[in-house]
């Protein structure tokens, strides 16, 4: 009964102090919307880089006329590395055939070649979780020192730039989210604190009549929860509107927008984040007040 009464008091207070509460809800909603945009951006960039392992490979070009033993040594070294998922030896004849296939109609330009100029090669594919510029570089340095390896080729600069961009985006994103969360927490904290001080006289009466701290505090915690949860749902409405109205419409004109994914987790995580911020802000606010 006490809890239902606390809910009633909280809802009455929300309606009574509607403007300050509405302002807080809108602020939390805006904060969560920007946070969701940031998370969505990071999520999509991350998803895009996760498809990289299928395309990324390191090519080892071997010296001409190396012995079978040297070949086996190279293949063994590669296979034994924990980061390697697949190794494929490509004989020079097969490489030429592939080149001719890829040139299609222009394949005749290779007809004039007397001897096959292409070397034997080894294609290395990495485990997705091990594609890291440092790991790849370490292996290539080790392989470069093996007898029979003529040249190693992979998009070193591309890989390290991509990963540093990813790291940068994630760091900036995390900082932004932390900053926004702190801001939203402060909004909930301040709102509940203001509401508390506005009811100081009423609370004093509650105390003198024998109300426990829980009885006095619970409506404020509920109020914080309602502010946060409403902000969360409003933020969710905002991000869904943005996605369905803007992104999907843009994708009709610009196909690149088609690849933007809207994670289903957002549907519950945004209201939950709002709820958490609201309750925490309220708990800090009334926890710091002596009464």
């Amino acid at each position: 009964m006490t809890l239902s009464y606390s809910f009633r008091i909280a809802l009455q207070s929300i309606l009574h102090e509607k403007w300050i509460n509405l302002l807080s809800i809108l602020t939390v909603a805006a904060g969560l919307l920007f946070t969701a945009i940031t998370v969505l951006s990071i999520y999509n960039i991350d998803a895009a880089t996760k498809s990289l392992p299928e395309k990324f490979s390191v090519m080892l070009y071997l010296d001409d006329n190396i012995s079978q033993r040297e070949k086996d040594n190279i293949m063994g070294t590669v296979r034994n590395d924990a980061a390697v998922e697949k190794v494929k030896f490509i004989p020079k004849d097969e490489a030429l055939k592939e080149l001719k296939t890829s040139l299609k109609d222009a394949g005749h330009i290779l007809d004039g070649l007397g001897e096959n100029p292409l070397p034997d090669s080894v294609e290395i594919k990495f485990r997705s979780e091990r594609i890291d510029p440092e790991i790849v570089k370490k292996l290539t340095v080790r392989l470069g020192g093996l007898k029979g390896v003529h040249e190693i080729e992979y998009g070193e600069k591309f890989l390290s730039s991509l990963y540093s961009i990813m790291r940068g985006v994630k760091t900036v994103g995390a900082l932004f989210i932390m900053l926004m969360s702190a801001g939203m927490l402060f909004v909930c904290y301040s709102t509940v604190k203001i509401l508390f001080y506005r009811k100081e006289k009423e609370i004093e009466t509650y105390k003198l009549l024998g109300a426990t701290r829980g009885f006095i505090r619970s409506p404020f915690i509920i109020e914080g929860a309602v502010i946060g949860l409403s902000g969360g749902f409003l933020g969710l409405f905002g991000i869904m509107t943005l996605y369905y109205l803007v992104v999907l419409r843009l994708s009709l004109a610009f196909p690149i927008f088609k690849s933007i994914i809207f994670p289903v987790d957002t549907l519950y995580s945004l209201p939950l984040a709002g709820l958490f911020l609201g309750v925490t802000g309220a708990a800090i606010a009334i926890g710091r007040i002596r009464y």
Partner: protein, 220 residues
């Protein structure tokens, strides 16, 4: 039931109570009188722990009030019904809710609460005003709401600070009859008043205060 032993209370610029000692037995109805500023309100505040004494000991129903922890104070206060001098009614709640608050705090269920609130309002002759808000009532009616709230939980002790300060003699008589009825049911009652008419011929003990000193006791 209530024991004061050498209790003093000092404020920055004056001393509200100076080494006051007295005892009130269970089921008694006692008046505290004295001119304005004599320490009547402070004495009551010390009982319901709105203030803490600077010296001396207060025992209420075997609780040594200075030894109560913060978490125990709310439970302690539930045994006391207080009629505040300024009523302390909540303007945003109607009369029913103002009175019911004392029971909601105690976790009384809705059905029992309704019957007790209406019974209490009936005693205070305010049953017909249950849906009104405090600001629409006269001073005397507000005072009676405060009394209804103080008695609704049937507390062991009722403290009333100038309970007839804003009412006409007829209403005042009604209020005092209410207190006598509650006292007859077993509650211990302390009434602070400067109106000597209230306790004249009452046959009850009257504590006299002056400038914070306990100056004597008489039978009204």
């Amino acid at each position: 039931m209530i024991h004061f032993q050498e209790v003093s209370k000092h404020y920055e610029t004056y001393t509200a109570l100076r080494k006051v000692s007295f005892s009130v037995e269970k089921g008694e109805m006692v008046y505290i009188t004295g001119p304005s500023g004599s320490g009547k309100t402070t004495l009551l505040k010390l009982i319901y722990l709105a203030e803490k004494p600077d010296e001396g000991n207060i025992t209420v129903n075997e609780w040594e009030t200075d030894k109560l922890k913060e978490s125990q104070i709310s439970m302690f206060r539930r045994h006391i019904g207080v009629v505040f001098q300024d009523f302390r009614l909540l303007d945003n709640k109607n009369i029913f809710e103002n009175v019911a608050l004392a029971l909601r705090i105690r976790g009384v269920d809705e059905r029992e609460m309704k019957s007790r609130v209406f019974e209490s309002l009936k005693i205070a002759n305010l049953r017909h005003k249950a849906d009104c808000y405090p600001q629409t009532l006269s001073g005397g009616e507000q005072q009676r709401v405060a009394i209804a709230r103080a008695i609704v939980s049937e507390p062991m002790i009722v403290l009333a600070d100038e309970p007839t300060g804003n009412v006409d003699p007829e209403t005042s008589e009604g209020i005092m009859k209410t207190f006598k009825d509650i006292n007859a049911r077993g509650s211990t009652i302390l009434i602070a008043t400067h109106n000597r008419e209230l306790f004249r011929h009452s046959g009850r003990r009257v504590f006299k205060l002056d400038l914070g000193n306990f100056v004597g006791e008489e039978i009204g």
